[in-house]
């Protein structure tokens, strides 16, 4: 009897489905989240913010003369800034506190909701919120967004991670 000439894609499709599921699970997205935090923190420390999601980066408003003078005598200034540099860094705590959450294939990155050291209950999350909102005395400085060029970097990184998964499953060589 001749062999059934029908091609069944059941096995292949199940492999693909498994790989896609894996590619959006928390474990697989962890490196993407960490990479994104790295990009956002680095750009902020370099002195740039991103006003809206997938927008362009722009230089943060310069610090006031009075605040620069205050920073010159402040003993705890982080090594990732200078008295004059406007990069949302004083002690460095806010940017160092960045965390992520992966839920249902979605990554969220945010400053920690734990209280800042030596403060009266103010959290890094609150502080970032104040900067993002701004007021008459505090210029608006938005950092927790991804620019279009940063998106390209993240996409490239994700493609690489996804490609590794496909190779692992033997779907590409």
């Amino acid at each position: 009897m001749s062999k059934n000439p029908t091609l069944s894609l059941k096995k292949t499709l199940s492999k693909i489905e498994k790989t896609i599921k894996e590619s959006i699970n928390a474990k697989a997205l962890k490196p993407v989240a960490e990479f994104t935090i790295g990009i956002v923190v680095k750009r902020t420390r370099l002195g740039y913010g991103v006003e809206k999601e997938l927008g362009e980066r722009s230089k943060f408003t310069a610090l006031s003369k009075r605040y620069v003078e205050d920073r010159k005598v402040f003993k705890g200034l982080a090594s990732t800034t200078t008295a004059k540099r406007s990069n949302l860094t004083r002690t460095g705590e806010m940017l160092e506190s960045m965390e992520y959450k992966v839920e249902r294939g979605e990554i969220t990155i945010f400053p920690s909701r734990r209280a800042r050291k030596g403060s009266s209950g103010l959290t890094n999350y609150d502080l970032a919120g104040y900067h993002a909102k701004g007021n008459s005395k505090l210029p608006r400085r938005v950092f927790n967004n991804v620019s279009s060029k940063e998106f390209n970097q993240i996409l490239r990184f994700y493609r690489k991670t996804f490609g590794d998964l496909l190779r692992l499953r033997g779907l590409i060589s």
């Binding site: 680095k42 090594s79 990732t80 940063e150 390209n152």
Partner: protein
């Protein structure tokens, strides 16, 4: 002096009629340039000239967590902006958007000007291009994947 528009036209040995296949090939060329640059190698596979001691001591260098590999990445925006500009069945052009900030940065690296009018001797870091060997590999891969002629 204004920055030159940095783009390169890559000639194909054999025409590729399929537009999608050319798009894929263009993307792969961009990926290859980024990958090779990240490894600290120029168009010819040679190591880029080292960073200046002054730059190495800068706060930006420290913030970016850069090491000894010259990978032309501070924020990463310049290489992220490299893209396919145009393509026909005979060539693929990759480069930067004309007059963009990233084009100016790429021009500084490629010609070694870094904000000055004339190139600084020994500081040109030409990353824009692909070797014949790499191109051949990519063309072969695309033809195989797409079964195109």
């Amino acid at each position: 002096m204004a920055a030159k528009w940095q783009r390169i036209k890559i000639q194909l040995d054999e025409p590729i009629k399929d537009e999608d296949a050319r798009e894929v090939l263009g993307d792969l060329i961009v990926e290859r340039i980024v990958e090779r640059t990240s490894q600290g190698k120029d168009v010819d596979g040679n190591r880029f000239p080292a960073y200046s001691p002054k730059y190495k001591e800068s706060l930006d260098f420290k913030i970016a967590g850069k090491g000894s590999t010259v990978d032309l990445q501070l924020s990463g925006d310049m290489l992220a902006s490299l893209k396919v500009l145009k393509h026909t069945r005979n060539w693929i052009e990759v480069g930067f958007e004309k007059r963009s900030e990233e084009n100016a940065r790429a021009d500084g690296n490629i010609r070694g000007t870094y904000g000055t009018d004339s190139p600084i001797p020994g500081k040109a870091r030409n990353f824009l291009g692909i070797s014949d060997k790499d191109l051949l590999k990519l063309v072969k891969y695309v033809k195989k994947s797409n079964s195109i002629a």
